[in-house]
Amino acid sequence: MGQDRPGIVATVSGALVELGCNVEDVATSILRGHFSMMMVVAAGDLELSKLNSRLQGMSDDDLAFAVWEVQGSLETVEATHVLTVYGRDTTGILHAVSSALSEAQVNICDMVCRLHEGEDPVYVVTMEVALPEGADATSVHARVADAVRPMGLESSLHPVERTEL
């Protein structure tokens, strides 16, 4: 993580290549000029301490690193529904929504929260979520709606659209 600028991915991936590591999966985002990147790396027999010290050596560039070993297989969670919550911005929206989802054992797979400026600014939370098997979507939505309605917010939950070609 660090202040965004050209070259971060090249620098980090270059270090990993030097160490013989294979990058299997990457997710990046830029938020208000700050860059973050999460990588799943196959490091073979490389010791964690060597990988750590090589990357920490780059921290003089104002990049912050955290490295840890992943145990077991990595499961990809597939989103089943799209949840949107929107209305006038106020403190506590994300906590209210995520708490309601957590109580229903719903996993948040992806999320964007943004205040859309204008004469009437609209704060929108858009989430791709995975409902546990057997969960009733209507009940899950009701739980979220009950949590955000007192804050003056609207919400909707609909299945992810997939078209098999």
């Binding site: 799209v82 949107t84 859309h116 204008g118 858009t126 791709e128």
Partner: protein, 130 residues
């Protein structure tokens, strides 16, 4: 009221549809006209719909939609490619961009916005040029 809706729609360049709830009227009335739009294939010209409903829908197409009710947002929304819509039991079919516009305006009659139809977490976009 229909005249009001049509005038308001015409007054906003690029606007191809307007529903009564958007001007604060709780009636199931909407107007659509996609004539001359660059995305229009076939169309019926000006449509004035009173108590409309969709009888059939087929095909799924992802498209980016804007809305006068949310001037600073566009959203990627999946809509049916072809629909059969009806007013007073007179059924007609529509497809492509016009079908999308009809589905968008009929959503307004049910209180549904494009925010309720976004295709995914990254399907909302800021609209810079109004």
């Amino acid at each position: 009221m229909l005249a009001d809706l049509i005038d308001t729609m015409r007054a906003h360049p690029g606007c191809v549809g307007l529903a009564a709830p958007q001007i604060g009227v709780a009636k199931r009335v909407a107007v659509i006209d996609v004539t001359g739009h660059k995305l229009t294939g076939s169309c019926h010209g000006l449509l004035s719909l009173v108590n409309p409903d969709i009888r059939e829908a087929s095909g799924n197409v992802l498209g980016r939609e804007g809305c006068l009710s949310l001037p600073h947002i566009t959203a990627d929304v999946v809509r049916a490619e072809r629909i059969v819509f009806a007013v007073a039991d007179q059924a007609r079919w529509s497809e492509g961009f016009e079908a999308r516009a009809i589905q968008h305006e009929l959503d307004h009659l049910d209180g549904i916005l494009i925010l309720d139809r976004v295709a995914g977490a990254h399907a909302l976009h800021a609209r810079v040029r109004l």
